[in-house]
Subunit: 178 residues, 2 copies
Amino acid sequence: MTAPTLRPGGRSARVQESIHKAVRELLEEQDRASVTVPQIAARAGVTPSTIYRRWGDLSALLADVVLARMQPETESANTGSLRGDVCAWAEQYLDEMSSAPGRHMLRDVQSSLKPSYCATIIGGQLQAILDRYPDQPRPSVDRLINLVAAPIVFRILFSEAPLQVEELHQLIEIALSQ
Amino acid sequence: MTAPTLRPGGRSARVQESIHKAVRELLEEQDRASVTVPQIAARAGVTPSTIYRRWGDLSALLADVVLARMQPETESANTGSLRGDVCAWAEQYLDEMSSAPGRHMLRDVQSSLKPSYCATIIGGQLQAILDRYPDQPRPSVDRLINLVAAPIVFRILFSEAPLQVEELHQLIEIALSQ
C-alpha cells in the first residue's frame, strides 16, 4: 500500500478536523464549562500550544466548532409561500438562539475570529428562501436581517424577555411589506 | 463632631462607590486589558475577595461601572420634531456603540448580572423623546427598540460592516410609519 502524498494544507486540515471532532465529542460527554484546552488537545492527539497558536483561546475554538456546524446547506422548511418560509425560519431561529446552547453560541461567536460569519450564515439561509420565489416582490436579505434577525438576537442578549411569537410575526409583516 | 450613625446599607453603598471610583480612575490611567481585580481592590481599599464576592469577576464589575454611567437622565437632542429627535438619538447611539469603548461596553454588559439593564436604559431615553410629542401619532418604545436599536447593535456585533447612516434613516422611516 502506497502512502498518499500529503500537502501541508492537507495535514493542517486533518489536524483541524481532529480538534473539531474532539470538541464535539467532549461537548456531548460533559458540561461545556468543564471542557479545557489540555483535554481537547489530549483527545485530538495534539499539544495544547497547537490549539492556542491557532485559535488564541478556548472561546474562539468553541465558536469555530459551532460555526462549522451552522452550515447554510441546512435547508429550512419549504411551506409553499414566502411568508410561510420566513415565518418558519424565524420561529426556528428564535427557538434555537433562546436555548442555552444558542445563547452560548451567540457569546462564543463574539469572541471568535470571525463574528461576521454569523450574518453570512443567516444571509445564506435567507437568500435560499428568497430564491424559491423569483417571480414575486421580495425584500432584500439585509432588510430581513435588520427587521427580523436583529430584534431576535438583541432581545435575547439585552432585554428582560425574548421576542414573543406575535411580535415576531408583526416584524415579518413589516419586513415583507414594500 | 459626632460620627453619623451608619446603616449597613450605607456602608455597602460607600464600598461600592469607592470600588466604582477606583475602576473609573484606573480606566483613565491605563489600558482596559491591563486592569486587574487586585489593582482595583488596592485602590479602593478593599480586599479582592470583596470584589469577587459581589461581582463574580472583573467583566461583571466593568459592566456595572459602565452601566452606572449610562444613566437615562442624559437628555438627547431636542430638534423640535419627533423624526429629528429619533434620528439624532439613533445617530449618536450608532456612533457610541461602534467605537472601541462602545464595543467593549456591549461585550461587558453581556457578562454582567443585568444585561437587560441595557434595554431599560435605551427604553428610558426613547420614552423621554416620545413624551415630548404627546399630540401626534407615535410608535411604541418596543417598536423603536426592535426596528432601530436592535439592527444597530446586531450589525456591530455580528456583521462585517456596521449600519450605514442611510440604512439607519430608512429603518427610522419604517419605525415611524404606522
